[in-house]
């Protein structure tokens, strides 16, 4: 980090839908903070509108969605649509949770930067974000 010219990467970690299993979201949030990023955790049960609103307000570089309930396809689609509608295409989106492997290509196709399945290391998440987010 070069101080004057670059700023810390800003990440919004969100729990969309009705699910309350937040172990993964919190572990990832903490690991990203330890890696020097600015992390905003939305808390539970956020609608896609609230998540995109938080990303806008927090000037986020990237949004991480934690979804274990099987609702990843409609939720990711909605979040990405909203980002496009609000001309926030520069904000990347990644997803982690219980996601069947056959859904990964479709998630990638709709514009999800990366999908983390159970067993992923938090260091992989750190590396992915560092390469997906261009310094500004």
């Amino acid at each position: 980090m070069t101080g004057m010219t670059s700023r810390r990467i800003r990440v919004v970690i969100a729990k969309p839908g009705l699910d309350g299993h937040d172990r993964g979201a919190k572990v990832v949030a903490r690991a990203l903070r330890d890696a020097g990023m600015e992390v905003i955790y939305t808390g539970l049960r956020q609608s896609p509108e609230q998540i995109v609103g938080a990303a806008e307000q927090e000037d986020a570089d990237i949004v991480g969605l934690s979804i274990l309930s099987g609702a990843h396809l409609p939720i990711c689609r909605r979040v990405l649509d909203l980002l496009r509608e609000r001309r926030m295409e520069g904000v990347r989106v990644f997803v982690g949770g219980i996601i069947p492997a056959q859904d990964v290509p479709e998630l990638r196709k709709m514009g999800v930067a990366e999908v983390f399945l159970p067993g992923a290391s938090t260091q992989d998440v750190v590396r992915m974000i560092e390469s997906a987010v261009s310094p500004r």
Partner: protein, 541 residues
């Protein structure tokens, strides 16, 4: 499949491993008699069936009857789950266990915006009495016991079940089963709460009172450590927070004027059976001793049934891996064996596809067969508590009990569990433990086969797929229901529910009436949201 060269992908772990349990407990090189100090057989262990029940709650344990093999199931519509229930019953399951979808667990109808993509996904969608009628169609409710994993809207689901029983000629006094209804662990771990803690506790107390008076074969609550452990707690924290939750419920019921000897015999528990074999067995034994002593000494219970910690166990979903999923059969078998050696009354074994999706029929069958192999082939059922007297196990049992007592002391000093939850104490303890474990895995201080050691290329694995159509169909069913029911009766019943919520009569009566009128779960929960508001926890990490 072409086997990947294992060495290239996966050098052997190089970090020296400490001898610790999955919870980070240090294990000594040797255990000797002096380690268990002045262990007194009658005082600290007792024969099986004798106070303090360390060795089991029944004299003959599994010689008399093996544990109930109770597999948790539910997905899609009530019709689909009804078919799975019938399949399981045909294949030797002895008790049903209903998994509800998230809209049901959160008291939201399928047409609510937050239900997007969630209907029927991780359980069955039950929106009104009509769905419960479908769910139990053709299942003799006087012959099976049913466990229902539901918490915030537990009272409404219980009402649906009671009414379906009534309509099929089984009175509530003969219904057997368990309602989870443990709201404290929702605030602590699983986070499926709706209302703030204090009104949530009132619903629980009202339900316990109702069940105590009218449903002698019903476990009014299942005080759960499972979710606390899945959220990342240690074994000692699971034990401590679960039993301290139990103390909190007992205290609230006593404060509401109930007699401990009347209601406590129907309190039941639900623990995780995790990977560290001996620590888990010790945890179950410590739970029984601690609960017996607590009920007798702290609450003055004299009914021996009020001293007994009866529990269901489920193997640890969180320990199962998406990588090399067949290895999960082995993990589950070991965890199930620990639950059996720990004296569980009923058991769910997870399916090998747990980390991928809801189980396929084939995966669910292997999980059930795992229990049957333990019960009928391994010989471990032949005598109760076969590991008693092991220096190692007795020391672990003592240590776990002492650690739990220390947590009791701290939580008591905060003013009880509700107060501790309000200041975020158990939540923070668990969160820290979860983070420590993740770090240990990433540093390879803890090895998970197939994840951070012995990695191979993965091949495609078939999983159960639940489409998006369930939500649309369920919303259509609810719309049709609303068009045909007596809307005046629904409105009046919901007004009555709100009136009772503002006062202090038992909530079960207006809930039963609203359920009979075919009010939806969302409508009933909204009525209470209007009176009590919704709980929002601080988003800390």
């Amino acid at each position: 499949m072409k086997k990947a060269p294992e060495k290239a992908l996966d050098p052997e772990p190089t970090v020296p491993r400490a001898f610790t349990t999955v919870s980070g407990r240090t294990i000594e090189g040797l255990y000797r008699p002096e380690g268990v100090g002045d262990l007194d057989y009658d005082r600290d262990l007792g024969d099986p069936g004798q106070y303090p029940f360390t060795r089991g709650i029944h004299e003959s344990m599994y010689r008399g009857k093996v544990w109930t093999m109770r597999q948790f199931a539910g997905f899609g519509s009530a019709t689909q789950t009804n078919e799975r229930f019938k399949y399981l019953l045909e294949h030797g399951v002895q008790g049903l266990s209903v998994a509800f979808d998230l809209p049901t667990l959160m008291g939201r109808d399928p047409d609510h915006p937050l239900a997007l993509g969630e209907v029927g996904k991780c359980g069955v969608a039950i929106t009104s009495l009509a769905d419960m009628e479908t769910l139990f169609q053709g299942i003799p409710m006087d012959q099976v016991s049913t466990s229902m994993t539901i918490n915030s809207p537990a009272a409404m689901i219980l009402a649906f079940y009671i009414i379906v029983g009534e309509k099929t000629g089984v009175p509530e006094s003969r219904l057997a089963g368990t309602l989870q209804a443990d709201i404290l662990k929702e605030f602590i771990a699983q986070k499926e709460f709706i209302y703030p803690p204090r009104p949530s506790m009132r619903i629980v107390v009202d339900m316990i009172r109702y069940c105590t008076e009218r449903m002698p074969n019903w476990n009014s609550i299942s005080i759960s450590g499972y979710h606390i452990r899945e959220a990342g707690s240690t074994a000692a924290q699971e034990l401590a927070f679960t039993l301290r939750d139990g103390i909190e419920y007992v205290q609230w019921c006593v404060d509401a004027g109930m007699r401990v000897d009347d209601f406590a015999p129907r309190l039941s528990f639900f623990f995780n059976s995790h990977s560290d074999f001996f620590e888990e067995i010790a945890k179950f034994r410590a739970a029984r001793r601690l609960w017996a002593r607590t009920m007798k000494e702290r609450f003055g219970a004299t009914n021996p049934r009020a001293w007994m910690c009866r529990f269901h166990a489920q193997t640890a979903g969180v320990s199962l891996t998406a990588q090399q999923p067949y290895n999960n059969v082995v993990r589950t078998a070991l965890q199930a064996l620990a639950a059996v050696l720990g004296g569980a009354q009923s058991l769910h074994t997870n399916s090998l596809d747990e980390a991928l999706a809801l189980p396929t029929e084939e995966a669910a069958t292997i999980a059930l067969r795992t229990q049957q192999v333990i019960a009928y082939e391994s010989g471990v059922v032949n005598t109760p508590d076969p590991l008693a007297g092991s220096y190692f196990l007795e020391k672990l049992t003592n240590d776990l009990e002492a650690e739990a007592l220390e947590y009791f002391r701290r939580i008591d000093a905060m003013g009880g569990m509700v107060a501790a939850i309000e200041r975020g104490f158990p939540q923070r303890e668990i969160q820290d433990a979860a983070f420590r474990f993740q770090r240990a895995v990433e540093r390879r201080e803890k090895i998970i086969v197939g994840v951070n050691a012995h990695v191979m290329e993965e091949k495609r694995f078939p999983t159960l797929y639940i489409g998006e159509n369930v939500g649309v169909e369920q919303a259509a069913r609810v719309a049709a229901l609303k068009a045909t029911r007596d809307s005046g009766r629904v409105r009046r019943s919901l007004d009555e529910l709100k009136r009772v919520a503002r006062g202090n009569e038992n909530l079960m009566n207006p809930i039963l009436e609203a359920a009979r009128a075919y009010a939806t779960l969302g409508e009933m929960c909204d009525a209470l949201r209007e009176v009590w508001g919704e709980y929002e926890e601080p988003a800390l990490f």
